[in-house]
Symmetry: C2
Subunit: 311 residues, 2 copies
């Protein structure tokens, strides 16, 4: 699946001029990554039809859109590196990042426009789904920025933020794939729910593994989020339960102290429980999908691999 996506991305011919506009786009889209969103879209399409190439324009639309958000987020965060290479605003400049990022949003829209759908009457639904999702992601990004300067973010607010910032695009990918294939309405809804829950569980798992993962498997040093004071599910739920002394420790950014404070407050178990609950809801949506196991099993296995449960 990933190979089909890489081939399609590599096959896009951008106009040769103006170079300053299209070079950073080709640079960004050739940097690899897991291609999670287009893969989910093609997998959902593949639940109903075998000619997965049919859904490639929409898959490319989602990947182009996702990379647009990374490009502009990196500029807003002043991040230097993305996937082992200088970010666009470092390799070129801020104005290039702004304009090439805008162009990627337009290109994403164009890719989605050229996506045929099995049932032509549902093209509008596909485009609206995409537009709604992009708007939600902008809102999620704004909430994330707002939370940086707040210390009273509630767990519910945090969950809603990551739902908007991360989950809805996975949900959109799955629903879009099914919609393009002409799947029944209820299936598209179940796949949306499945994607939403997997996305939440995935993000919470990421927060959890930053503290309790095996660095060899997780691929990052333990405690990175703590050191940079990032508001994660762990930190937010701990702050909500802390007394004055513990609060001070939690905000100290000292990995060892913060981790033992998490233990004191029972945060690891609480976080695991939350992940398991949400992942269980994803499983329910998956189980309710009225498709033979032989057809749908690969989707669950992909979710498992996303959750780092297999390596």
């Amino acid at each position: 699946m990933t190979q089909k996506i890489e081939t399609a991305l590599a096959g896009i011919r951008y106009p040769s001029v103006p170079e300053g506009l299209y070079e950073p786009i080709a640079y960004t889209l050739s940097a690899g990554g897991k291609r999670l969103r287009p893969t989910l879209l093609l997998m959902a399409y593949g639940l109903y039809r075998d000619d997965v190439e049919f859904a490639l324009p929409a898959a490319i639309a989602l990947e182009t859109y996702h990379n647009h958000t990374l490009l502009h987020d990196d500029l807003m965060d002043q991040a230097d590196v993305r996937r082992g290479r200088p970010t666009v605003h470092r390799r070129w400049d801020a104005n290039t990042a702004i304009l090439s990022g805008d162009e990627m949003l337009i290109l994403a829209f164009r890719h989605m426009l050229r996506q045929p759908v099995a049932d032509q009457g549902r093209k509008d639904e596909l485009l609206r789904l995409f537009a709604d999702t992009m708007q939600e992601i902008c809102e999620g990004q704004q909430f994330d920025m707002n939370f940086e300067s707040r210390e009273d973010v509630s767990e519910a607010e945090y969950i809603e933020m990551i739902r908007l910032k991360t989950s809805v695009l996975l949900a959109c990918a799955l629903k879009a794939g099914a919609l393009i294939a002409g799947a029944p309405v209820r299936d598209t809804q179940l796949l949306y729910q499945f994607g939403e829950k997997v996305g939440l569980a995935f993000q919470l798992q990421d927060d959890y593994l930053d503290c309790y993962g095996d660095p060899a498997v997780f691929g990052k040093e333990i405690g990175g989020d703590i050191r940079c004071g990032k508001k994660t599910y762990m930190l937010i739920s701990a702050l909500g339960r802390a007394d004055g002394r513990q609060r001070e420790i939690l905000l100290s950014r000292n990995v060892e102290h913060v981790l033992s404070c998490y233990d004191e407050l029972g945060i690891p178990a609480l976080c695991r429980e939350k992940i398991d609950t949400i992942y269980g809801e994803a499983r329910q949506a998956y189980d309710a999908l009225p498709l033979p196991l032989s057809r749908k099993r690969a989707l669950w296995e992909y979710a498992e691999s996303m959750m780092n449960r297999k390596k």
Copy 2:
């Protein structure tokens, strides 16, 4: 017409949260301006049908998109003021300008999606026209940025840049209005050509009036473009004809000296001729429109008012 547009813009209810995302958008869209693009769209629609409110979603889409470009252009240019008020990146900050600008592009897309068309089979054509136009405008903006650091820009390159940056959106507005109304294909093409030529003539006229306009009518001080070294049609065509001594004067940014050098080189007549030729082409497209004068006269009068020929 403008009243209908202002009412529609004022009637948009943005989500109340996140404030940081939607406040700058409402701020930007309430700042007034000529509302040229939505007006042209409604006028083109009005050539064929009387219920102009029908085309308001598309009109609002174009105005929202246009303001997205202004917001991001102001950030790239580090401009402090727009329509007598602080620009978004000054009143808020750069990150707000980036994200709210992105959201405006998405909102523009959403407005266009909810636009019904008289002939449902042509909805795709409307969306593709919009997407193509947005991509061309990005390219125009990039060429404009490239030209700032070049002294060998040719007249043809300059004309192509302003066609992309300015004209295609006026052309798109007119074609979109006609398309929504179900106009014959040839009419939509003629309206596109008309908009493209009027847009070019309008921009060249703007360059001309900066040097030779009546400040009382033009509303700006004479020579502003010369003082800031802006590459206008006047400067580019003068540089193309200048010897070494004249070249030095032209790059001096001294209004009086540059203007007399323009006179030496016959630039004012050359520029007027170019404007007249292009405006004549706009007139040809207008004349070819197979509609009764009583129906189409208002469109020509609007073009005349844009060209500052009436005040």
